[in-house]
């Protein structure tokens, strides 16, 4: 578990970069959406989009206040930052998609949307932008083994074709992605993950640390 490491601890293996680089262009106004820890992945994209001359708006969501991260960092590169929480404990009360829909309804010109977060969130973003024809890119998170194209475990369905997220992605056109398939495939090891999580939580209880 990476988030339990202390300063000075080591990671056994680190390989990369992998996959295709993000498509960074001057789109005009770009909305970068991060859900939960997805915000950490969205942040460098926001920086790059700003550097490429875009006006960047960030919508960063979380279940409640403590799960909204990197707000000040985002604010440093974005024209506007909208934190959102599901429980209303901070910022906009509601999902990131509701905030996005509001911006569109206000008549804001939006040329590009980048969304990174849980699969249902990315799927919902795709549905918000689809009727408006706004170019929308999502960063997919299928289960991956080697990350170099060798195993095909991360295959996703995009525009009627099977793609390997590790070498062909991870970023794809949100309007072409089969999110239902992705969501299902990501449950393949749910029983195993549950079992491991229980065991892990037990260990933490014994050690007297919090798990989150």
């Amino acid at each position: 578990m990476l988030n339990l490491l202390e300063a000075g601890d080591t990671v056994a293996d680190l390989a990369g970069p992998l996959g295709m680089p993000s498509e960074i262009e001057r789109f005009g106004t770009a909305v970068v959406i991060g859900g939960g820890v997805g915000t950490a992945i969205a942040y460098p994209t926001a920086v790059a989009l700003a550097e490429a001359g875009n006006e960047v708006i960030a919508i960063i969501g979380g279940r409640s206040r403590e799960y909204v991260i990197l707000e000040s960092e985002m604010a440093a590169v974005c024209a506007e930052v909208f934190p959102t929480t599901d429980d209303g404990s901070y910022g906009y009360h509601g999902f990131v998609t509701a905030k996005l829909a509001d911006l569109i309804a206000e008549g804001r010109q939006i040329d590009y949307v980048m969304a990174i977060g849980p699969v249902p969130m990315m799927q919902a973003v795709a549905e918000v932008t689809r009727p408006h024809g706004i170019k929308t890119v999502v960063s997919l998170n299928p289960i991956m083994v080697d990350g170099t194209g060798m195993c095909g475990g991360c295959r996703v369905h995009v525009g009627g074709e099977t793609k390997f997220a590790c070498v062909d992605g991870p970023e794809f056109d949100a309007h072409l992605v089969d999110f239902d398939l992705l969501q299902r495939r990501n449950t393949a090891y749910a029983a195993f993950e549950h079992f491991r999580r229980e065991g892990f939580a037990e260990k933490c209880r014994l050690a007297g640390t919090e798990t989150s």
């Binding site: 293996d13 390989a15 990369g16 170099t148 495939r185 090891y189």
Partner: protein
């Protein structure tokens, strides 16, 4: 010294059988199936060799090992010298003795095989290599004076290791880049422990490291450095690309993205490299206990996968192959071992559709019965569907082992390397030279899916050509055509 036998007496000697673990017990664990010949059995087997004046076995060997030469030394119990003879042409005998398709190569060409059974060349190769390793008396081959030339090898599989061996012996500075966290390529992620113990691969790599080869893991060439970077930024004088055939093929039928459908690469990598069978493994496999597992394909990889499924407790572990058993490309020994382990062989069937339940999990396969028609381009009789003969088979997990296509990663970052329409790299078969100055390639990335020994042969030929090039040889671009 063994008493001299006449030719006739030699021909009467029975072929030694390979001792193996009991099929029922071995099918529950990952220990090596073949146990290896004893010294007595090896000497007895060596005495069967007729020492032909024109040895056809050497012609049958892709790297032309002096087979009668090493066998005669075995007969004289000079095992150390015997392994030395093999290593002149084959740097990885412990591996090749286990995984080469001998029946199609050296043993297939043995004249004894016409009337009797051929000399068990593979068993003997394995024996002398194991003797050397077990006795610990391995002496690193002398390395020539350092030439100051630096070679980058991309990929640590059979082609890369064979190439590295010859280059380090020639006094060049050699660095091997491996994308994964462990060295050995297909030898560690692909071939299971019960056929090729990883300890043996590690011993070979340790030997190379002791000779001065540098290894860098987690180094995805194409991503961290392009081929041009290796020359310009890193200062290498030559590059050998031996990245293998990386991307798995799928069946191209509906349902192949259902949960429970694996490529053989994923299935075997999870088990061999990531130890999915171990308690608490970080990279698990779907539970196969009491499940029905179907493996599509008839090659060695298919046999490895189905025998792995058997070891993980599958109720039915089945090979589904669209031709007949005769056309199966797997080594004869693997097929025999599989059958002894109660693997079911269902031949002349082709998948039409993978079927799933509402939650997206695999539940079965619709199969088309086939019959053999006229021979196709490969010389094998082409399987043709028997109209209307379709049936459903319930399965829980499917493993697709119908081959790989080359990984486009290298090409993406070196677009000036010429490719065939199949995505393999264009390189001269004798020298490994590509159309790009200083860049050589060999193994599956050039030939398409082949064998360990063919990849090693390509690696060695490229090494010879690299030496010539670094020694001031000219680069004739026409060579790549």
């Amino acid at each position: 010294m063994a008493p001299e036998l006449t030719r006739r007496e030699r021909m009467k000697l029975p072929r030694q059988e390979m001792p193996e673990r009991d099929p029922a017990r071995r099918a529950t664990n990952f220990e090596e199936v073949n146990l290896g010949l004893s010294a007595e059995a090896a000497v007895a087997e060596a005495q069967r060799c007729l020492l032909c004046a024109r040895p056809t076995c050497i012609e049958g060997c892709p790297v032309s090992v002096d087979i009668p030469g090493f066998i005669q030394l075995v007969a004289e119990r000079r095992f150390d010298e015997a392994v030395g003879v093999i290593k002149r042409d084959n740097s990885l005998p412990a591996i090749c003795g286990r995984v080469c398709p001998q029946e199609d190569q050296c043993e297939g060409a043995c004249v004894l095989g016409r009337k009797h059974r051929p000399v068990a060349i593979g068993y003997l190769e394995r024996f002398v290599a194991d003797q050397e390793r077990i006795q610990g008396g391995r002496v690193a081959s002398p390395v020539k004076v350092n030439t100051g030339k630096r070679v980058a090898i991309v990929g640590s599989g059979p082609a890369g290791l064979a190439c590295a061996t010859d280059l380090i012996k020639a006094g060049h500075d050699v660095t091997v880049f491996e994308a994964l966290h462990e060295l050995g390529g297909v030898l560690v992620y692909g071939i299971p422990e019960f056929r090729l113990p990883k300890e043996i691969v590690r011993a070979e790599i340790d030997q190379l490291a002791a000779m001065g080869v540098r290894f860098e893991t987690n180094a995805v060439i194409g991503m961290i450095d392009t081929i041009d970077d290796l020359f310009e930024k890193e200062g290498y004088d030559a590059v050998f690309i031996g990245v293998g055939a990386g991307l798995p093929r799928f069946l191209d039928v509906p349902g192949e993205n259902l949960i429970g459908v694996y490529s053989a690469n994923e299935f075997l990598t999870r088990v061999n490299l990531m130890k999915a069978y171990a308690e608490g493994a970080e990279t698990p496999l779907l539970d196969l206990y009491q499940k029905n597992v179907a493996v599509f394909g008839g090659g060695n990889t298919a046999m490895d996968a189905v025998r792995t499924a058997r070891r993980l407790g599958a109720a039915r572990a089945m090979i589904l192959y669209r031709r007949s058993e005769e056309e199966m490309p797997a080594r004869a020994e693997e097929v025999e071992h599989a059958k002894a382990e109660s693997i079911e062989f269902m031949t002349l069937v082709a998948p039409l559709e993978l079927q799933g339940n509402d939650d997206g999990w695999l539940s079965g396969v619709r199969l088309q019965r086939m019959e053999l028609g006229e021979p196709d381009d490969s010389g094998r009789r082409r399987p043709e569907p028997i109209e209307g003969d379709v049936f459903d088979l319930p399965i829980d997990v499917a493993v697709v082992a119908i081959g790989n296509r080359p990984n486009p990663l290298i090409h993406k970052t070196a677009p000036d390397l010429e490719e065939t329409p199949w995505g393999t790299l264009v390189a001269d078969s004798e020298t490994g030279r590509t159309g790009k100055v200083g860049v050589f390639a060999g193994g599956d990335i050039v030939s398409g899916g082949a064998t360990v020994i063919l990849a090693m042969g390509a690696g060695r030929r490229a090494a010879a050509s690299i030496c010539e090039y670094l020694d001031g040889g000219v680069w004739e671009l026409s060579a790549a055509e």
